[in-house]
């Protein structure tokens, strides 16, 4: 049996090798929604710099969430439908290795999209960037934070289209229940309260604290700790709950 890190590396390479045929299309389609959303939201921001920051970071969170957890959910549903998951389950592999490798591969595929959104966003929204070194930690943490949740959704015994709908619903809820796309003062107190329990609130906050001037270091520590906790929690849950063996 290979060591855990080698399993992750092999599975990561398998995923990347898989996508050599389809990466162009995937890259292009993953850019469209966040770019259009930025243009649309700009009209509501009234040139308020704070609101513009929320729009930019919210869209990056959108792209990272959809780039990892949602794609993991549909990928696992596909693997389950084709029998590929059985193939992996019959190999001496840890299911956490499979989830992490898939998340790493999807994250890597999302990074160019994120860079394009960042560059285009600063141009469209006219925002000055002062990138902090913490971004190297924050971006992967956001990408990995919900990968366990995506794997659990993907292996629920549901038809593939229903898995897609459920995953999209969860992602949209995570984006709009809380101050992710809009500043706290522009959303209702109820949504603000719910936002404290949503990982995407901390993801967007971590990005704001690493991409712009006057980031709050204490808030950034809190964001990083929460995101790391969410990642570990969902991975632990997925390792226990994921429907690897069928009942």
């Amino acid at each position: 049996m290979q060591p855990f890190a080698m399993q992750v590396w092999d599975l990561f390479l398998m995923q990347m090798t898989n996508w050599r045929w389809s990466w162009r299309g995937a890259l292009l389609t993953s850019m469209i929604a966040p770019l259009l959303s930025m243009v649309a939201f700009k009209a509501f921001a009234n040139d308020d710099p704070l609101a513009l920051r929320y729009i930019l970071t919210g869209n990056i969170v959108f792209s990272l969430l959809f780039g990892t957890s949602d794609k993991i959910a549909t990928n696992f549903a596909y693997m389950r439908a084709t029998g590929m998951l059985d193939f992996f389950a019959s190999m001496p592999l840890s299911r956490v290795a499979l989830i992490l490798a898939s998340a790493a591969a999807f994250l890597l595929m999302t990074l160019p999209t994120m860079v394009v959104i960042l560059i285009m966003g600063t141009l469209i929204l006219d925002l000055p960037l002062v990138v902090n070194g913490w971004v190297v930690l924050v971006v992967p943490l956001i990408g990995f934070s919900l990968c366990g949740l995506g794997a659990v959704i993907g292996t629920l015994r549901l038809p593939m289209p229903e898995v897609g709908s459920l995953s999209a619903l969860v992602n949209f809820l995570l984006l709009f229940l809380g101050p992710v796309m809009l500043p706290p003062e522009r959303i209702s107190p109820a949504l603000r309260a719910v936002g404290y329990f949503s990982p995407s609130t901390y993801a967007a906050s971590a990005l704001r604290n690493t991409l712009f001037q006057h980031g709050d270091p204490i808030a950034l520590w809190v964001d990083v700790i929460v995101l790391a906790g969410v990642m570990v929690g969902f991975l632990w849950w997925s390792a226990r709950r994921m429907d690897w063996r069928q009942v």
Partner: protein, 302 residues
Amino acid sequence: MPVYEIEHLTKIYKGRSTPANDDLSFTVEQGEIFGLLGDNGAGKTTLVRQMVNLLTPTSGTIRLFGKPLNDSAMYTPLQIGYMPQSSNALNMLTVAETFYFAAHLRGLSRNDAQRERDRLIDLLHLGDSRDMVVPRLSGGQKRMVLLGTTLAAMRPVLILDEPTNDLSPQNRRLVWELLRRINQEQGTTIILVTHNAIEAEKIIQRVGIMSRGKMIALGQPGRLKGELNEQLRLEVIFAPDSPPEFPQTPHKIAPGRWQLLIDRTDAPTYLDIINRTPSIEDFQLSTATLEDLYLHLADNGG
């Protein structure tokens, strides 16, 4: 020690009342080629998926080399190479990459995995398809690739679900010969699920015949066929849609092909009818096969 000890195994899927596996008890011995035969829906695949630890039994126990299967998730993959029924279970990788990753993930070093990849490509005659992406191969080639991933970094036990589905006659012969050789040279225990009873009979040493979730016969093929000693298998090729007029109505096995078991003493009568029926294009008279035994047992309710 037996490789597998299965006791009172029952599997009832959620929302269904009839069991897919109904109180199965049997053993598989070390180094034997054990065949599982039965019609569609007999419960063969359900049984092997439980034996590979991919499906949880409703009740009963499965022991692999004396150890209960559900003790450790990692134990089964270290002992078993499993070939599933579906050939879609492969990635968008080339044939060479598929073999390399299967061997490496099963624990071989990089160099050994590369050697294993080359060995499997030679063994399965896939040299021309080496750099082709698996989903673009023909059904038969995909099947061979799936077999290759199962054989990569050989395990002490192989469980193969319909290994010769979609294969050309030439490749079917290659697979049966290969499995026989692996069994003889390496002492590998092989459990085969197949519809192709006539071909599998050449290598199977012990067989379990399943019908409606139950094991209706278990033993060596020769002994089991003893029940049919006094019978012969007659197969006729007959153009019209209705069967030839024999004293006993034959089974239709394919368009224009009919088959029946007859008593040895009745053979002259049947041959006489065949000689007098010009629309019978061809016929074959042989001793009964495992398939006949299965049909006989299924017809008689086990």
